[in-house]
């Protein structure tokens, strides 16, 4: 009698990443590592002014320079564009959507706006010649300030619109004003959230080749090869069916590569004109002006509450910078947070208003968290402000307002499927040892220590797993939120998994093989995961918004089920038993009661391909595609705490401890989950303490390098203390929720709450991000005065 082996599942274990080998040995396929025979190189001439009329562009000297193949102004290429670079999210009916072509023709609207291109035989020669392009600019007034941009007489980004207001979007329940009037206490706070530069370590890059019949292949450092493919048809008029987009190894994105960029259209247009492959590699200084930024909002957040701390109203009004143009999802970024301004709290009355504002700056778009960090920041900061106002401990105030019953229907209209916010907070407090922090804090204060301790909290949730397509349609997003998987069991038993997600550091090859390995009962070594090439993966909606696992990962389960179903029919036919009499476990079908009669799924795959003895009417092969549209968003949540040490003499703030307890549902690969948490919280901490894209009054970017825009190093950070609590999502069969953005969403308010806590006994009640030494020092001086 055969022994039925039971084995551990792959899901839930920290399988080491299969992706690592190529990166660790220097064999990655980042765009700049790729070249085709005959490749020429593009350099982009960019406007140095925040706003300028382009009087003339003289390319003569550039065209005559050594190694130059061609040079074009915006006007020269205007006929190549069949449409504007697309914005997929017209958030209101009357939103203003000015056109945005790959090169500016008459007017440049932000520093870095492209005005001409030079193509040469080498990168260096292209760059040399670009410096010879003479552009006659007439500088115009500009502003980078969202509030100033809305004032009368402000310099207009698009003069023909007559305003810098892009849209006003509002979501409000009935009875908000009545609840405000009836409240025991109303707290309103204003928050400025700085503009952030994503800083994926790999700058962008593109390489394009156009064949003699117009078929275009583009290699791009993109998060969204599928979205890019149809966008390129809109811009270039090349049918999608003739466009192949390949995203090879992509060196980080954080939302900045969730876009359709001018250079992607340019290299194809130029490759077509020149009949040679065209390549462009972004330099970091270009990246700071030509790749999207994030955040840049001014909020006013109001809570109304009873005197015992039950919050009855949340009301938010925010001005949100769009930048000079609308990129792929620019106007929709605030909306990604619009439904979570109640956070993990049960708040019956709800009002959220966003005003999108054009400024003479690099366009904003998705940066890790996208709308949800903005919401969580103002919510969690105001939670502490309300706690202070009511004299209730901030932790206790949060507990009094937590949602505790699921499914939880929110005032904003969505439904949280699962969670346990108390459990995460309980675990956080176990790890934190708050009592000893408080006694140390008190001892330092009483001892006159110049280095004060502060502890800050943030309890949060988020909506991710983007997204149910019907809801996306209802909120006017142009495309769907489903994803797709194709699984192919080859004749000799190896398994190809084709995913519509497009990883760039998240480790999908490893995690997806774990999921499929469990579903089909095959060894990880037998599974190959393919992605990032639209010729291989026809259907997909790519990777952003913590969606890949909760959508694309679930598609793997459904595709696997189809494979098992078909294999079961084959085994049933061959063993001459009813399909219902077959059990499937660990990759083998066995006849119930006669387990010695068995066939592996891989043997069934051979039968499926030889097709010598299949059930009547069955098609040969063992391949299945499933496309999964999630019925709900997914809802991670958790509790974070930061402990900071503030030097009252210098204002220097050092993060001493960071403790994060997250509920991301089931963890497919806990090692990868932990890595995502580490990276996520670091980007939120960085926003709280260091990072800020600073513009001067005339909209000149002042933080133009990685040394003036303070991307943190290892030396500024502590090791992190992380743990997971788990409530499985009942929405999907894996029980997963997503983890890519949780840390960034939760961490900034925890850190700033800690800074304020450190100084609260002095009378400091607020601190603007980032809490630079100067800001902290000034805050201390102000309360002293």
């Amino acid at each position: 009698m055969a022994v039925i082996e039971t084995r551990e599942t792959f899901v839930g274990t920290s399988v080491k990443r299969r992706e690592d080998a190529s990166f660790l040995t220097g064999r990655a396929t980042f765009i700049d590592n790729l070249t085709l025979p005959g490749t020429v190189y593009m350099a982009v001439v960019r406007c140095p002014y925040p706003h300028a009329r382009i009087a003339s562009v003289n390319l003569d000297a550039a065209r005559a320079a050594e190694g130059v193949v061609a040079a074009f102004s915006g006007a020269d290429l205007a006929e190549d564009w069949k449409g504007s670079l697309p914005c997929a999210w017209a958030v209101t009916e009357d939103i203003k959507m000015p056109p945005h072509f790959p090169l500016a023709v008459e007017e440049a609207r932000h520093q870095g706006d492209g005005v001409a291109v030079v193509i040469a035989e080498s990168r260096a020669l292209a760059k040399d010649a670009a410096e010879l392009v003479e552009v006659d600019y007439e500088a115009l007034d500009a502003t980078a300030d969202v509030e100033r941009a809305l004032e009368d007489g402000a310099p207009l980004v698009h003069a023909d619109l007559g305003t810098n207001e892009c849209y006003v979007w509002k979501l409000e329940t009935d009875g908000v004003q009545a609840a405000l009037d009836a409240a025991d206490v109303v707290v309103t706070r204003r928050y400025v959230q700085p503009r952030l530069i994503p800083n994926a370590m790999e700058p962008r890059g593109v390489l394009a080749q156009v064949g003699p019949t117009g078929e275009a292949t583009i290699w791009s450092s993109t998060q969204v090869p599928h979205i890019l493919r149809f966008a390129l048809q809109i811009v270039l008029g090349i049918p999608e069916a003739k466009i192949r987009v390949i995203a090879p190894d992509v060196g980080g994105g954080f939302g900045s590569k969730l876009d359709v960029y001018a250079e992607e259209a340019l290299v194809i247009a130029l490759a077509k004109r020149l009949g040679r492959p065209v390549k462009w590699t972004e330099e970091r200084s270009e990246n700071y002006v030509a790749t999207i930024h994030g955040r840049d909002t001014v909020h006013e957040l109001t809570f109304a509450a009873t005197k015992d701390g039950k919050i009855t109203v949340v009301k938010s009004e925010a001005k949100c910078a769009m930048g000079a143009y609308l990129q792929l999802v620019t106007p929709g970024i605030p909306l990604l947070g619009a439904w979570i301004y109640n956070g993990p709290y049960d708040i019956p009355n709800y009002s959220v208003t966003f005003t999108g504002v054009f400024t003479h700056t690099t366009p904003t778009d998705a940066y890790r968290g996208a709308g949800r960090p903005e919401a969580t920041y103002v919510l969690e900061r105001t939670m502490d402000a309300l706690a202070a106002e009511l004299g209730i401990d901030p932790i206790e105030l949060r507990r009094r307002n937590f949602i505790t019953e699921y499914p939880a229907e929110l005032a904003s209209g969505l439904t949280i499927d699962s969670g346990d916010y108390h459990a995460s907070l309980d675990r956080l407090l176990e790890l934190l040892d708050l009592d000893s922090i408080r006694s140390e804090q008190t001892a330092r204060r009483e001892g006159g220590d110049t280095k004060l301790l502060g502890v800050g909290f943030s309890t949060y949730n988020e909506m991710c797993g983007l997204a149910p397509s019907r809801i996306l349609g209802a909120i006017r997003y142009a495309v769907g939120g489903w994803d797709s998987a194709t699984i192919r069991v080859q004749p000799l038993g190896s398994v190809q998994v084709v995913t519509g997600t497009s990883p760039h550091g998240q480790g999908h090859e490893t995690s997806w093989s774990q999921i499929v390995g469990d579903q089909l009962g095959v060894a990880l070594a037998d599974i190959e995961v393919l992605h990032g090439d639209t010729a291989v993966s026809q259907l997909g909606m790519d990777t952003y918004g913590s969606r890949s696992l909760a959508v694309g990962g679930v598609a793997l389960v459904h595709a696997s089920a189809k494979i098992v179903d078909k294999a079961r029919q084959i085994v049933s036919h061959q063993l001459e038993v009813s399909a219902d009499d077959l059990e499937f476990a660990d990759g083998t079908f066995r006849v119930k009661g006669s387990p010695e009669r068995e066939m592996t799924i891989q043997a069934a795959a051979f039968q499926a391909h030889s097709a010598h003895n299949l059930p009547d009417g069955m098609e040969p092969g063992l391949e299945a595609t499933a496309t999964y549209d999630p019925p709900n968003f997914s809802w991670p949540g958790g509790a974070h705490a930061a402990v900071v040490e503030v030097d009252t003499e210098t204002g220097d703030t050092r993060l001493v401890r960071y403790v994060a307890v997250d509920d991301v549902g089931a963890a497919v690969n806990p090692m990868i989950v932990e890595g995502q948490v580490h990276g996520g919280i670091t980007q939120g901490i960085a926003a709280a303490l260091w990072e800020e894209a600073v513009y001067d009054e005339d909209a000149n970017l002042l933080t133009t390098t990685m040394t003036t825009y303070l991307v943190p190093t290892a030396a500024e950070l502590p090791s992190f203390e992380t743990d997971l609590t788990e409530t499985r999502s009942p929405t999907n069969p894996l029980g997963v929720k997503g983890v890519g953005e949780t840390g960034t969403i939760a961490s900034a308010p925890a850190v700033i709450n800690a800074v304020v806590d450190a100084l609260s006994h002095l009378g400091v009640t607020d601190m603007q991000m980032p809490a630079t030494p100067e800001r902290v020092w000034r805050a201390i001086q102000e309360v002293k005065a």
């Binding site: 920290s14 080491k16 990443r17 992706e19 690592d20 080998a21 190529s22 990166f23 660790l24 040995t25 220097g26 064999r27 990655a28 980042f30 700049d32 590592n33 260096a124 800083n199 994926a200 370590m201 790999e202 700058p203 190894d249 992509v250 060196g251 980080g252 954080f254 590699t281 330099e283 970091r284 200084s285 760039h504 550091g505 998240q506 480790g507 090692m671 990868i672 932990e674 890595g675 580490h678 990276g679 996520g680 919280i681 670091t682 980007q683 390098t705 990685m706 040394t707 991307v711 190093t713 290892a714 030396a715 950070l717 090791s719 992190f720």
Partner: protein, 163 residues
């Protein structure tokens, strides 16, 4: 170093040893070492993450010491022995630092990884990786945007035998 002429440019003949192989190259004086490695020798494991010598992605070992290869001209590498990420494993076996990065999940997108690994090798070999704080300070010149450094520090500490 000898000088040859090509067109109107001065080309300089340079001999350097990379990963144990000696190369004789004719270089433009302005060519940065990182582009000599990437474009002349096809060693694209060394990546370029910035243009201000801030990110450390292009770190290699020059004479055993970690150097940002964008801060050095190719012609300055004359006579030096250079190790890039492609030369770190021996006979197919990962270097202990490479292995530790794998074991500790110290890389995500992998773009900073070659530079980070070589900076760590240099730090350990110079005896500087004595504890967590020293490792953090020692890797200050190398930026990573994915990991928050937590697992990198763990990996380096493990490879250095200090945890």
């Amino acid at each position: 170093m000898s000088i040859a002429r090509k067109g109107k440019d001065l080309l300089r003949r340079v001999a350097l040893t990379v990963n144990g192989t000696r190369h004789e190259l004719e270089l433009e004086p302005r060519e940065l070492l990182v582009y000599v490695l990437r474009e002349r020798l096809g060693l694209t494991g060394t990546t370029v993450g910035c243009d201000t010598s801030a990110c450390g992605a292009c770190t290699v070992l020059v004479g055993g010491e970690s150097v940002k290869s964008c801060t050095m001209l190719g012609v300055q590498a004359e006579g030096f022995e250079i190790t890039t990420i492609e030369g770190l494993a021996t006979n197919g076996d990962l270097h202990p630092v490479q292995q530790a990065f794998h074991e500790h999940h110290a890389l995500q997108c992998g773009f900073c990884t070659p530079g980070m690994v070589l900076a760590a090798v240099s730090l350990i070999e110079s005896g500087g990786a004595t504890d967590e704080e020293a490792i953090r300070e020692g890797l200050e010149g190398n930026l990573c945007r994915c990991t928050g450094y937590h697992n990198i520090v763990e990996a380096v500490a493990a490879a250095a035998g200090v945890i």
